[in-house]
Amino acid sequence: MVVSEAASSPAASKPAALEMRGVTKRFPGVVANDHIDLDVRRGEIHALLGENGAGKTTLMNILYGLVTPDEGEILLGGKPVTIASPADAISQGISMVHQHFMLVPVLTVAENILLGEEPMANPVLMDRKAAHTRIRELGRFFGTEIDPDLRVASLSVGWQQRVEILKALYRNADILVLDEPTAVLTPQETKEIFAVLRRLTAEGTSIIFISHKLYEVLEIADRITVIRRGKVVGSRIPSETDEDDLAELMVGREVELTVDRGESHPADVTLAVAGLTVSDDRGHEVVHGLDFEVRAGEVFGIAGVAGNGQDELVEALAGLRRPAGGTVELSGRTITGASPRRLHNLRVGFVPADRHRYGLVLVFPLTDNSVLTSYYRAPYSRGLVRDADAIGRHAEQVIKDFDVRTPSPLVHASTLSGGNQQKLIVGREFFGDLRLLVLDQPTRGLDVGSIEFIHRQVIAKRDAGTAVLLISAELDEVLELSDRTAVMYRGRLVAVVDGRSATREEVGLLMATGGREGPPPIIAEGAA
């Protein structure tokens, strides 16, 4: 026990609810967890911090019985236990809210909560009345009752997260693991969830909180354990640390969390969008007559909760979807509905949100991936024959300039980590002199080191006179990079604010409500 180290914490005097000792898990070619020690006290919020692939999720999957450890032991309340399956974990009082929702969309709120722990009226049939009473009771914990008969698919993301936590409450969890619970929430929703977590710890529940948002960890945690490359590299108490210190621990070197964006010098209008209307695959209009301009040398950010028409907007601008109406002009030239190749020839770069579906061909080597948008042109191609040497040289250039960590340019793109895959795409799309850059969630799922790098590149492009359109559900990213920030809500831009003076709360509220009065809706927009 490391009582002395944490003597100033109010939780210090409480007994350890959970201890993990020397936990080791090896996957082929990598040690995901290397003799990890972790102790969590009763009633504390213990944050687990680390980059992608550092081993946080593996450690938690071991605790939850989803992964079998090679070495090490787990103690609950001082007694060693074996957790071979989620059923074991649940019976020991451990619950987990997974990074990706573990909800069955077509089932009701009640059915999702009961699943696996059904109250029975008789040996065969369930006792729905008792279940509903219990769920309404638990719902009061959130200050709002929830209708147990609503289908989960119809709930907004914030309410789905509440249902996930209700699942844990229903099982009377002593230890609750939350894996990046705020990744999809607006700042307001995050605040509400934090209030619930504090109420839970006041009643003696221990919480393990996994996140990569440093300010959140500093706000909510009692203690912080940092993991890097499968090893514990340090523990901190929020009052004795700050974001820079934590980031350095996580990455192993000094990191600039907010890129110094400097002054921007917007020039002429490069992208002019007027009355742009786009329909989704089912033919429903989801982007309703957008008007906006992006000038050369500025970053125009569009923030918004995912699913408010951003995907369709991006596809329309990238030539992947025909707009239903309106016009798009690039430096005075009409490019409405232009093909991706024409856009590329007009020097438009595009970083898609889904790097596996749109950004890369995973089974191609890095060389071919580095010329996916330009392979048909000289010098990569001469007539019908491609020039492997020229492509190889280009790939090496991209790999060097954009710090893609790879053993060779000839390995398949699938062998790279997410961060390096993204750097490869950015390197390809940012290459050369660009008029316009369309960035759709350019750092989704990346760790702070890679985010820092990509953000620097965006600013460098801006300063070189490129017009940058940044669409992201990650509010911090939009606020950090944008000169002007628009908020997209239900297919409309409901507000445009100054990117430098806007606050998280201000923009977050616009994202959640679209600027209307009253609380955010429970039912998701456009749900059946």
Binding site: Y64, L66, S85, L114, V124
Partner: protein
């Protein structure tokens, strides 16, 4: 063109509707009988697909069960006449029924192993079962027919007493729904029981979860692999019953390929019925009506203009009616009927490092 103009189309249509209603009311019992293998096959598919395993091998499972049930019953019977109990139940027939169920479960076990443990392509697994069933039963039947053994007969329909049957409406209802052999009666009970269990029982909830989002079910402590095995094997019981219907209830003999696509129509009924037991039964009735209509036209043709027109249509068209209805129904319904989200996706347990 002139010929068509002279045919009173509206009149013919009205006559046809009248005839159809006549067939449906006077042959209600036959319709339910004919829809039995389709409904049972669809229930087999229901058990599989609701938990996330696609089963297109229902046809083969039924055929296997039909053959095994018939042959075992005949062997046990040994040619000696036995005095039948109520519903024509005899010891050899009961043993045959049991054997058919065992055969259905055995073939299902193969499908479960391939689909769940080996994580093979489930369409291929089902296709193998269909091809093998047709070939193996056909070959064995050929061998047996060189030294034919007498059949053990078949189950008989329940006879509603004359006094009750002549009561208006009630009598019709009772004869239509109860005037059947034991397998059909079992089917009717199963449809209702499974419908209730699907939405009200623990088994039903877990099955739906496993078919929609198996990972979510697993994280709540549910053993998805075991649940899928159990459901596929129970589906085998239903396929066994469906097979037994052919050789132990409807007629008392086996012919090669006698299931004649009923297993595939059952799949269509499952989709048409939106993966619910009641829905699948309703869809099976539609196919049963098409089947009964085909038979009625040849045995009891309509009179008047309609009869004249229908007599000009080749007999094969009526035999093909259930299949035509399948195509039409699927063309209209597929795409709007949404299967369980994880249907056909093998489940892999251990989470990989991310």
């Amino acid at each position: 063109m002139d010929f068509i103009l002279h045919v009173p189309v509206i009149g013919l249509l009205l006559q046809f509707i009248g005839y159809l209603v006549g067939v449906m009311t006077t042959n209600g019992s036959l319709i339910i009988t004919l829809s039995t293998p389709i409904a049972l096959g669809a229930l087999c598919g229901f058990m599989n697909e609701r938990s996330g395993v696609v089963n297109i091998g229902i046809e083969g499972m039924m055929l296997f069960a039909a053959f095994v049930g018939w042959y075992v019953a005949a062997l046990v019977n040994g040619g000696a006449p036995t005095s039948p109990g109520p519903l024509g139940i005899t010891f050899p027939l009961l043993v045959g029924l049991l054997a058919a169920i065992v055969a259905g479960v055995a073939v299902s076990a193969l499908h479960a192993w391939l689909s769940i443990t080996v994580r093979a392509n489930q369409i291929i697994s089902g296709t193998i079962i269909n091809i093998e069933a047709l070939a193996i039963t056909g070959y064995l039947n050929l061998l047996i027919s060189q030294n034919p053994i007498p059949s053990a007969g078949n189950f008989q329909s329940f006879h509603v007493p004359q006094g009750v049957a002549s009561v208006p409406v009630l009598g019709w209802l009772l004869t239509t729904f109860l005037g059947h052999g034991p397998i059909t009666l079992t089917m009717l009970v199963l449809v209702i029981v499974l419908q209730i269990l699907l939405f009200r029982s623990r088994w039903g909830l877990r099955t739906r979860a496993a078919g929609e989002h198996p990972r979510a079910a697993e994280t709540l402590g549910i053993d998805v692999i075991r649940l899928r095995y159990r459901n596929v094997l129970l589906g085998g019981v239903l396929a066994g019953l469906a097979g037994a219907w052919f050789t132990l209830e409807y007629i008392g003999t086996f012919q090669g390929g006698m299931t004649n696509g009923r297993g595939f129509i059952a799949l269509a009924a499952l989709i048409f019925g939106r993966w619910t037991p009641i829905g699948a039964f309703g869809a099976a009735l539609v196919f049963g009506i098409a089947d009964a209509l085909g038979q009625a036209v040849s045995f009891n043709p309509p009179s008047g203009d309609l009869g004249a027109v229908l007599s000009g249509v080749p007999e094969q068209v009526f035999s093909a009616l259930p299949y035509l209805v399948t195509i039409i129904v699927l063309a209209g319904v597929v795409g709007r009927s949404i299967p369980p989200a994880a249907d056909g996706q093998p489940y892999e347990r251990e989470a990989k490092a991310t």
